[in-house]
Symmetry: C2
Subunit: 326 residues, 2 copies
């Protein structure tokens, strides 16, 4: 691939292309992560997918067997009473010299000093300008900001990427990565036009050859259009955007009838989604999916996908748009 795009993201992370594969529970496994980094983007392992700090260390080792390019680790701070042993996970991240940590969920402040002790850059993933400002204030190096259209947790404000990105760029001094709704070169070009320094993609990377997801799930994501996602858990103020399958419709129906967390909990367990991902039955659990699923029409290798995104974006930036200047 000859074409490159140079932004603050590529320069600060030392990567070729301003494209991040955001941490996805279960899906961000070594093979996918290595493929993204090898293709010039930034792959990110999800620490909590590996159960224990030793599991993470093993995943890092496996990723390094597949690529010598930089990759990151995601740490999601969950609102649970029995928290994972975050300091032990961070100890691995530091001792392994991981260059980029993506934090998500709750405020990472209690762990930031430890994370940065090894020199890692911290990208905090958040869903509103006020949270991005907080991340900047506590010393995060970049933010990845998620619009309403994103897979997973968009927050409760329902503000779309088209608004959130320029708003965050206006308010922050640190670089902004656009996340939520991006799947192709047009989206990358649009994000850069809005002032972002790159894009984060989730759903698009799920639908690649290297993603550790059953082919039937990838095929379903190819087939559905942009209207086939839905928010579950709105009633719990913990909204999650998922594929609008039987499972999600059941949950939404129960929410409408006033079901509480105790009734909903069995349906919300991540184990069901993991089972769906592995067995290839798209109806038996919650599957995070963004509206970008409407733009996904094939199951390429990560290298093919990256090549297409960058060459399409370069054509837009180098030809389509300048050609409109009279």
């Amino acid at each position: 691939m000859t074409q490159k795009l140079k932004t603050q993201l590529t320069e600060r992370l030392g990567i070729q292309h301003p494209v991040v594969q955001g941490g996805m529970m279960w899906v961000s496994q070594p093979e996918l992560v290595a493929a993204v980094s090898e293709a010039g983007g930034l792959g990110i392992l999800t620490a909590l997918s590996f159960g224990t700090p030793e599991g993470l260390a093993d995943a890092i080792a496996r990723t390094r067997e597949l690529t010598d390019k930089p990759f990151g680790v995601n740490l999601t701070f969950l609102p649970t009473l029995k928290a994972p042993d975050y300091p032990a996970f961070i100890k691995i991240i530091v001792s392994e010299g991981i260059p980029v940590v993506e934090t998500a969920g709750r405020n990472p402040e209690p762990f930031l000093e430890q994370i940065k002790s090894g020199g890692a850059l911290v990208i905090h993933k958040c869903t509103a300008v006020r949270f991005a400002l907080k991340a900047e204030a506590i010393g995060c190096d970049m933010v990845s900001i998620d619009g309403f259209e994103c897979a997973g947790h968009p927050g409760e404000d329902d503000v779309t990427s088209l608004i959130l990105i320029p708003r965050a760029v206006d308010e922050l001094s640190i670089p902004v990565i656009a996340s939520g709704g991006f799947a192709d070169g047009r989206g990358l070009a649009a994000a850069l036009a809005l002032g972002a320094e790159g894009i984060n993609m989730g759903t698009r990377f799920v639908v690649t050859q290297e993603a550790p997801v059953h082919p039937a799930i990838k095929q379903r994501l190819v087939e559905v259009d942009e209207t086939r996602t839905a928010l579950v858990m709105r009633s719990l103020r913990n909204s999650e955007r998922v594929l609008k399958n039987d499972w999600a419709e059941k949950i939404i129906g129960m929410e409408k009838e006033g079901a509480g967390i105790s009734e909903l909990a069995p349906l919300l367990s991540g184990k069901n989604g993991l089972k769906a991902l592995r067995e290839g039955n798209p109806e038996i659990g919650l599957l995070a999916a963004g509206q970008s699923t409407g733009l996904i029409r094939d199951i390429p290798s990560v290298a093919e996908l990256m090549e297409k995104i960058i060459s399409d974006a370069a054509e837009i930036l180098g030809k389509r748009l300048p050609g409109m200047l009279a």
Copy 2:
């Protein structure tokens, strides 16, 4: 203004800049419409704001006193039993030689032949790819596609502009105008990157010197951020995005408690919103407002606004983006 952007929209409509001021009930009055067209965009009068075909003819005459540049007329087909006399309005549009008609609401097919008999181009405003395809099939010349973030009626699919625009561009042969969430030059550049031929703006034009809206309402729209809009009438499957004021919160509360159309109707009357617009009390009615309100920070003249949008977009297209190509 020296800078110009040339797209299918500017070429087909014979305007300088690819920026349309979408039809807004009550607000799209001659002074605003003429200012937009005079500044090189396309201003659009809303036929139904003038009550009768004679009222529309009078508004057209007043607009022509203010500009000799092209402007359009919006015709919204409402789902009411007592329909306005659309053929009589269209007769005025045709006899006055209006070059562009923006249709909205229900399928314009029954009126299309009459509208086009005078040679007008028809831009159909819609909220989903399937409606855009229908518009193309029946002979509309362009579509203006409204994302979830738009003011007024976004439909019930909740798909954002970032997804809808490239999806519509992929499916249609006719030009696509991006609508919903646009307020500045960055948004214009992003829309063009996504494949649109221009943008439609509503809320941004409400907050200009020439909009016939009480200064206190404009000031409120400057002050609120992107989280201060809400959808009302979701329970009626006739969602409308409005300023999240006391009035809207009351309606949403009633909807949550199961109120039906008969209880809600008195609060939904457009007369309350019109009173708010005129008297400058932003709490006494529904005021359509898009999430772009978060990006609106001043009350410029239309000419100043257009100059800034075009020069910012040109800087992005001519410098920021090409500068990223290594």
